[in-house]
Symmetry: C2
Subunit: 566 residues, 2 copies
């Protein structure tokens, strides 16, 4: 008899449901449901590009629609499909994406009195409104609690829990006063499914808690009250209404409630695992293990590694998150990432690509790629920084911006598209170098996410720039697959047949394609990377001092070499 | 009885004929004829963005078409129009745009054996192929003849006569061997009209000769043979086949030949003035005088001033051309400029503006301008360098490139369009500052050219950034008007009624509009200009050394202030 699990992946623009076979990893059905609110699911403020919120009601709608459709599709595709064989449900979401809730756990943004208040909504991971608060938290921690910063790369981000809550308190006291607690959506959804969203009952995810909420068992969980009071006395009071303990995602959050079972068309009582962030579960679904770096390439990028706990582990400057059990329960999880990758390409296609490349976004991407792939490295003479949404790793600084140089009067859109892809690859190389410089060997790179499976041109550039093979995960939906695996393991070894996550990985993950580096291209890219690092360090670090006169000239020399003009 | 003159303006993409009334400056008729060859009249090399050539046959075609049509239009618009009242013809062209000719003065590019050879064509002003030769010439002059560099801002450009000829000799010896001489097109066209193009008979323009050919009466005309031989012995030999003396454009080149009179539909014997470059004659047509800076705003920009000869005149570093008589015969002419202005906007509209702004180039420009004009200075958070075609003044360096920074995931095309306009205005301000720092007061700025008359949004940004009123010349075609004025003056005071150019300017030039600076905007732009200069000096000068960390952050602060977020 087949055993199945259900993975739910709450992304930036949509929610995905995936039904998977535990014996083989075969994906029986998947369905993606777009969030109905805002622009592609994101609530924006036209005056302030920092604002990115989400309507919590969208999760309810997307949950029902995606699960019901996935079940229906599984039935159509597999006549022997039996939904009662689903033994576990796992949930991953974006994060840090906290929202205020009342004492019943109802999101304030779903209550009539707050329906029009952006600050009562979910503060999406990429919301950067709270940069001032992130600076305040960082500088206070430098003075009072330097240990808090050691695990998060030295800088507390505006994308994270406390920055967002403090900014909400500063700008919307009415929302803060009405909030019984604040809940990450990766904690809210499992609680919702088990039928009890009361804040004090929610099983919080250690993946979300540390480092985003500066949770660490070593200092007794969340930051202490003295520290929080120095930020704001009301944050210290809020601490009592948050949580003491956080759990890895092989832990059981509870069982599917009868009410939600009926809404979704499932049996009540199915095991529901503690939630986690999409990248962490995606890392597991892509087969992360010691020495394997998993890159989840989407609108933004996460880089996931694990390191054994027993090894004395040096903190890595600029690498945001090193958290016990955040990826695999028995390892330290290491998380790095780029604030925008696919989002930069989407921006370029929407805002700056003329219709001669096609009428639709898909056509434009296709033709930009075809034209750009005809060029040699450096032939366009361009160099970009991948900072349109700030830099998460290794600078941890949202107050940075995009940069493009080298353009002539003949530069074409597909050349800029290629330069933007290259910029994100240079950013990726910078992360790998930083991790290796601090003693964690990267023996293998496995890629997953939409860009990895759909953009071979991009993957080849990544291989050429990193000078390493780029492997592509067999599954196109590793976060949902990872979530399903956690759901299965949380159901227990008797139900799932897996003693731990590693056993599930052995059965359910694999590699489908390998892009090998062209070492001739790699050599050219090494020259260009030297210039990328020069711009990176000059615009991104306070310490840098030097000259810039070589940059444009060196790029022109490379351009002429690659065009056979020299 | 009305007295008339004909001005012929050979531009980058087309030739314009203008018939004008000497008493009032009234423009009776004008006709623009596009060059038939290449892309918009320019012969390109898809592999090398440095190459920009022109087919000399296009001048013959455009000359006949534009004059005949202008005459026909004048007859339609003015029933009393009498072509025999035309007493003088003046000619302006782009430059330095030299071409090889045979001993009869026939352009090699019009001969069957060279018809397919790009190197036998006209080397258009903006051709940058000969950057290596320009460096060679500059460094030799630094050692052997530093006085040659003093008048041209310290650097000999790849856009100029000797760089182009030396590159032609190095890369196409067969063309160089076949060339009896090399002729600027501003010298070729008047010779053509007088019926004698033999190189030794052509009256060469002092405007073209100095500084582009390093001609100066103080050192005996063209560079001496010892210097040329140190570059290449064949250049020293060529000197004998060039010229000893060059003339200002109030000088008579000759009279219209019967053959060309018939082709054009004019009387033979009309006075033809010595030619000059478009910017210099445009400066005269816009009313240049002591203290008045004339900006000719087109695909590139020229800034023209004059200074009395009797005043001891310090050379201005980075200002390319200070030539006796190149603008007004009795003054030193000062020429500065930006290598690309309108060309940058054209590039942006053609390559990077999506069709949501309109289907045609004109619609796109219109809607980009409407959207961009709704913003406050700095609201877009962007900063660009106007170097897509290198920097002529004050860096005199073609091996520079465009730069854009500050872009987020929300940056829109019209915001970049505004940033590009601002970049060109910052470049313009840099030129004004440099001229004033060296003792030439700029009391008034008069703008002319297509952008001045057609783009009020751009003119207002220029006023706000320069912090000065921007006046707009009454005529929309000042180079052709200036050319007509030189044609009239060359015909002599009896025929024209003008004792000199100043008398013609008093009768024929004027101001039609003044854009006043908004000093609130100017204050914001002063902050942004500080950042522009930081980028300008960092990427554009060898001497600069410092930090860059403030640039993106300061722009974000200004953006937030201007969006009322701070």
């Amino acid at each position: 008899m087949k055993k199945l699990a259900l993975g739910l992946d709450f992304g930036t623009n949509s929610v995905r449901s995936l039904i998977v076979d535990l014996a083989t990893g075969e994906e029986l059905a998947t369905f993606v449901s777009d969030y109905p609110s805002g622009e592609a699911g994101i609530l924006l403020d036209p005056k302030d590009p920092n604002v990115a919120r989400q309507n919590p009601a969208d999760y309810h709608i997307g949950l029902v629609e995606s699960v019901r459709n996935a079940l229906a599709l599984a039935g159509q595709n597999h006549p022997d499909f039996d939904p009662t064989r689903i033994i576990g449900i796992g949930v991953d979401t974006t994060g840090s994406s906290p929202m205020p809730v009342d004492s019943e756990g109802t999101p304030l943004g779903m209550k009539p009195e707050f329906k029009e208040n952006l600050n009562a909504m979910v503060w999406l991971w990429k919301d950067h409104s709270s940069f001032a608060e992130s600076i305040q938290i960082t500088s206070l921690a430098q003075k009072m609690r330097p240990e808090y910063l050691a695990k998060i790369g030295g800088t507390y981000s505006s994308e994270w829990f406390w920055s967002k809550i403090l900014h909400s308190k500063n700008t919307s006291p009415e929302v803060f006063q009405a909030a019984a607690s604040f809940v990450e959506i990766c904690d809210y959804i499992p609680a919702l499914l088990t039928g009890d969203t009361r804040p004090e009952k929610i099983q919080r995810s250690v993946c979300a808690a540390g480092h985003k909420a500066m949770y660490h068992a070593g200092w007794g969980g969340l930051p202490d009250k003295e520290f929080l009071a120095a930020l704001d006395p009301q944050l210290a009071e809020l601490r009592d209404r948050l949580y003491e303990t956080a759990y890895p995602s092989d832990h059981l959050a509870g069982h599917l409630s009868p009410g939600w079972a009926e809404k979704l068309g499932l049996e009540p009582g199915i095991a529901v695992a503690v939630g986690a962030f999409d990248a962490h579960m995606g890392g597991v679904g892509a087969g992360v293990s010691e020495g394997t770096l998993v890159k989840i390439l989407g609108t933004s990028t996460c880089d996931i590694m694990v390191s054994p706990k027993q090894v004395g582990f040096a903190d890595i400057p600029g690498v945001c998150g090193i958290v016990d059990g955040s990826v695999l329960p028995d390892y330290l999880g290491i998380e790095a990432g780029q604030s925008a990758v696919g989002d930069i390409f989407l921006w370029f296609v929407h805002q700056l690509t003329p219709d001669k490349y096609g009428r639709t976004v898909d056509e434009k991407f296709k033709n930009l790629g075809i034209e750009a792939s005809r060029q040699k490295p450096g032939e366009h003479g361009l160099l970009a920084l991948d900072w349109n949404n700030g830099n998460r790793t290794i600078l941890v600084d949202v107050r940075l911006s995009g940069l493009l140089l080298g353009q002539t009067l003949h530069t074409q859109a597909h050349e800029i598209y290629r330069a933007l892809i290259e910029a994100t690859a240079f950013g990726a190389l910078t992360i790998v170098n930083r991790i290796e410089e601090h003693g964690v060997a990267v023996k293998e790179v496995v890629n997953c996410g939409g860009l990895a499976s759909k953009n071979p041109f991009l993957m080849q550039i990544y291989a050429d720039i990193l000078g390493r093979p780029m492997k592509v995960s067999r599954s196109d939906q590793t976060p949902a697959l990872g979530a399903a695996m956690f759901g299965a393991v949380a159901a227990g070894p008797e139900a799932s047949g897996f003693v731990n996550l590693e056993a599930a990985q052995a059965a359910m993950t694999g590699i489908k394609e390998i892009f090998k580096p062209d070492m001739t291209n790699h050599k050219v890219y090494q020259e260009i990377y030297r210039l990328y690092r020069q711009l990176h360090d000059a615009f991104g670090t306070e310490e840098w001092s030097g000259t810039m006169f070589n940059v444009m000239k060196d790029l022109i020399v490379i351009r002429e070499q690659q065009r056979d003009l020299r």
